[in-house]
């Protein structure tokens, strides 16, 4: 399930699917996973987010194209459309053994409904569903809150979550202690639910510190892509 590169950990199934509450960081995790997998050859990154109008994978389509990541999303003229447009290429990624894919699913159970429609096509034994949690998000600060959303998403997809991903952060100001605190909450959920925490997502600047402080925790360093317009140049 995980591959180690330079001491850090990355998801590595043929099909890696990220689900979770709105604003938990699924898109950043999906982009970063695709980029790591692309070091071993072409990867397809599927933008399955039909509920979030702005911060979606499709925003960085051109940037990723030069790095062996092909983004599957609606055609250019519908990129900003407020419609749940899904292309036939999505089925191709799921059904062809020679393709590797990363799926970024929309937030909450509402966003996960789309994944439910692809449930019959999820390739047995070749995929993993990762449930991403940021315990700094309002209303997802306790184990009980997290259990409730996992239940709702599992009902929407009609498939069980395989792994939890700890992605606790408050953006660029995140301190290592915040990350570790979030991981502790997720450990409780993992124990109560009997599914493992796959790894902890951490912005790259503090990934090494987190790994040192929280020995034994697999850490996935993240480069952040969904930045507001004033943090970009052109």
């Amino acid at each position: 399930m995980l591959t180690t590169v330079g001491g850090f950990f990355y998801p590595n199934k043929r099909v890696n699917v990220f689900v979770g509450p709105l604003g938990s960081g699924k898109t950043e995790l999906a982009i970063n996973t695709a980029l790591v997998l692309a070091e071993q050859g072409l990867v397809t990154l599927v933008d399955l987010d039909i509920i979030n109008p702005h911060y979606r994978v499709r925003l960085v389509k051109t940037e990723l194209a030069g790095r062996d990541v092909e983004v599957v999303c609606p055609p250019d003229e519908l990129l900003q459309a407020d419609v749940p447009a899904l292309t036939p290429a999505i089925l191709g990624v799921l059904s062809r053994d020679d393709q590797r894919g990363v799926f970024d699913v929309g937030g909450d159970d509402i966003g996960a409904v789309v994944l439910g429609s692809f449930r019959p096509y999820l390739p047995a034994g070749q995929y993993a569903i990762y449930f991403v949690v940021n315990t700094c998000r309002p209303h997802f600060t306790t184990a009980a809150d997290i259990h409730r959303m996992i239940d709702r998403i599992e009902r929407a997809v009609r498939v069980g979550v395989d792994y939890l991903v700890s992605n606790t952060n408050i953006g660029l100001e995140t301190e290592p202690a915040t990350v570790i605190e979030g991981r502790r909450i997720l450990d409780v959920v993992a124990r109560e639910r009997g599914i493992p925490v796959a790894f902890t997502g951490v912005r790259s600047g503090i990934a090494e510190t987190v790994q040192e402080l929280d020995a034994g925790t697999p850490v996935f360093p993240l480069r952040l892509f969904m930045r507001p317009p004033w943090e970009k140049w052109g």
Binding site: P53, R137, I170, G171, P229, W230, E231, K232, G234
Partner: protein, 350 residues
Amino acid sequence: MPKVLMKGNEAFGEGAIRAGCRCTFAYPITPQSELTHFLARRLPEIGGVFVQAESEVSAINMVYGAAAAGARVLTSTSSPGISLMQEGLSYIAGARLPCVVVNVMRGGPGLGNIAPAQGDYWQAVKGGGHGDYRLIVLAPASVPEIIALMELAFDLADKYRNPVMVVGDGVLGQMMEPVELESGEIRTAPEKPWATTGQGDRPQRNVINSLHIVPEDNERFNLDQAAVFAEIRRREQRSEEYRTEDAELVLMAFGTVARVAKAAVDRARARGIRAGLIRPITLWPFPDESVRRAAAQAQQFLVVEMNLGQMLEDVRLSVNGKRPVHFYGRPGGTVPTVREILDEVSRIMG
């Protein structure tokens, strides 16, 4: 209190709750739907009420009713929804009722698109409904400021018995920023002896409407309101100034664009151009005092907006021909970049 990572749209809702608002009537529309989603979940948890109305016309009239009964009440929508609400807003203003309306603006005119825009400035500050009325209009530029201005919005609405609009756009609504939620008291609405809460011990029942059949009566009502508007103009202008002390070129922008402009000011300064920024926080009352003060020293102004030049007119009125006022805008749902603004600054400053 530990910080939480909050979306702008959630912050509009959180700010309303902290202001003591327990009633929201709204109809979902992108790019503000997280706001209604958030309040639909939160309000029932704390003894409040959220009703998804069958349309924006219906939502604003539910607001009219709740405001008349003395509640702190909110509705939220995006541009086309605001257009639908104009009749109700005029009635609410005509009935002197406090309420708060959020507009997370999108690209127009018409159906337009769901991308971030500021094309509703005129509609917000010059009135889109009929008659001589004013909305107090607030324009936050960050997620923490959304919470602070939502609290202010409810206070101003009650203080002046006037509707308040808080405007954002898709960038601000969708983005996430850390917020430190101070623990502490949730505000409550002040006493409203005029509210229609049943006659009780009052000698006469309270009646709320916007009807003044005799023209002279209506004229008196309008003149009384003019005095209220003058007081708001005098007391409630708010703006943020950034590096304006020695600025030769003053940029003016609100909301999302102000943050892009701020980044451009820093880049310009690094190139030796003395640029600064005035960010109106109240779009009405427009902070003309700050602009007039700046015009005493700055040689030129550059207004940057996500429209074809709407706030531009208020800047020109405030500058009153004393300095050249330039404009750079991207309409229809596009956001000016740091590079574009810097190019414009460089062109002006030669």
